[in-house]
Amino acid sequence: MRMSEEKRFDGRKFDEMRELEAKANLVERANGSGYFRFGDTRAIAAVYGPVETHPRHLADPRRAFIKFRYNMAPFSTKDRNRPGPSRRSVEISKVIKEALSAVIEREEFPRASIEIYAEILDANASTRCAALNAASIALAHAGIPMRDLVASCSVGKVNGQIVLDVAGEEDTEGEVDLPIGYVPSENKIHLLQMDGIITKEEFKKALELAIKGCKVVYQKQVEALKEIFKTYENEEVGE
């Protein structure tokens, strides 16, 4: 199926996201964990902390040190992804770390560290968005105090058309990729990267669409957390 004036390669409408799935509590050893899926793109994240900071000279006497690693499993990509950090993964880790740092109440844990690890299990575009979404859930699940969750999705420009949640051929053939991380309660953008030529007007349209998408993502995140905390309550009641 080709992209037409009304439909996309995979049949979605321009402002339609792929199937979303959000879960919490997948990694028993961690203090908190989360999972997020956009169609075939799957990320899992776990949180350890607050823990002592190593090496010690990284400890900040005023606030928690936030460590974040974005990593693609070697089998998650069409061609095997060589294990170990790449320049791409280092950059992505940095911008996600900064987005999360802005919402974590870091002053609550001076000198401590909060370690967040996200693994991409399957990759079909928007992996950084999935990682950020899963990490937000994991932080909340770990009970780390946060001002809000960060919700993330991407928009793109494909054949001149602004579309929500690019995937598949759109990712390789698209002209623009624009992932954003959004905090609904503050109406603030905390992650934004953009590749490709776009006019100011198109950008505005794209950003508005992305924010719309993030709000949908946010609902999914909240539901997953409600679900898990409900389970915990029932367990307590049951005891």
Binding site: L26, R29, D40
Partner: protein
């Protein structure tokens, strides 16, 4: 992580002939196996042993054969103990535990001749299939060795060989399955207070006096062994561990691999 008090408690229960979670000494935790869990992999499987979770993905790539086996494909096994899976794992290149895990799983597959590497030759001396087996640990609640071995067998059984057009791999189109000639299954036997037990969980691992991993194949012979950890085994204990491993291997092959 685990205090001396906890450790003593674990040992005491075992002295009574039981385990903290109620299992028999020669009983695995619940095993869950799901194949085909990774879209982008040519083969994959998720295995849970209780709370231990491992995902194995198999990627088929084109590469050069080793000079001494010009007409054979190449098997590469790699393990990542992701920092997500345990507070004890750290980011960075594989440490001695990850390397040992990968190498024991590798030997199980390689020495059992489960894969006919000659069938993975494309142009002798020039171009062969490289089978990358990547073990990705999601949660470590003990016995990663057996979980990884089972997940590797399942992922290889799930693996399809992609179509080739010249040098280009047509991802998503396949010419057939990767045939498995036997199912190598590792069974790790540990010693606690001179008792032998299978499938230790994370807490039990903290009190073991030595482990021995034995990989058996469908005809009940052994294809790889590895003693690890601090603590030795008497010859009779090893013979006993072999018996246990053959029995457990048979059970797992029968229940989960249709043998």
């Amino acid at each position: 992580m685990i205090t001396e008090i906890d450790k003593n408690y674990i040992r005491e229960i075992i002295n009574t002939g039981k385990r903290a979670d109620g299992r028999e000494f020669y009983q695995f935790r619940d095993i869950e196996i799901k194949k085909g869990v990774v879209k982008n992999a040519e083969g994959s499987a998720m295995v849970k042993l209780g709370n231990t979770e491992v995902i194995v993905g198999v990627k088929m790539e084109i590469g050069e054969p080793f000079p001494d086996t010009p007409d054979e494909g190449v098997l590469m096994v790699n393990a990542e103990l992701t920092p997500m899976a345990s507070p004890e794992f750290e980011s960075g290149p594989p440490d001695e535990n990850a390397i040992e895990l990968a190498r024991v799983v590798d030997r199980g597959v390689r020495e059992s001749k489960a894969i006919d590497l000659k069938k993975l030759c494309i142009t002798p001396g020039e171009k062969v299939w490289i089978v990358y087996v990547d073990i990705h640990v999601i949660n470590d609640d003990g016995n990663l060795m057996d979980a990884s071995s089972i997940a590797t067998a399942a992922a290889l059984q799930d693996t399809k060989i992609p179509k080739l057009e010249g040098d280009e791999i047509k991802r998503g189109e396949y010419v057939g399955n990767l045939e498995l000639r036997t199912i190598p299954i590792a069974c790790t036997v540990v010693k606690i207070n001179d008792n032998l037990l299978v499938d230790p969980d994370y807490e039990e691992e903290s009190v073991t006096e030595g482990k021995i991993t034995i990989v058996t194949i469908s005809d009940e012979s052994l294809c790889a062994m590895q003693k690890s950890g601090i603590g030795g085994f008497a010859p009779e204990e090893i013979y006993k561990a072999i018996d246990i491993s053959i029995e457990q291997g048979n059970k797992i092959r029968k229940k989960y691999f249709g043998e």
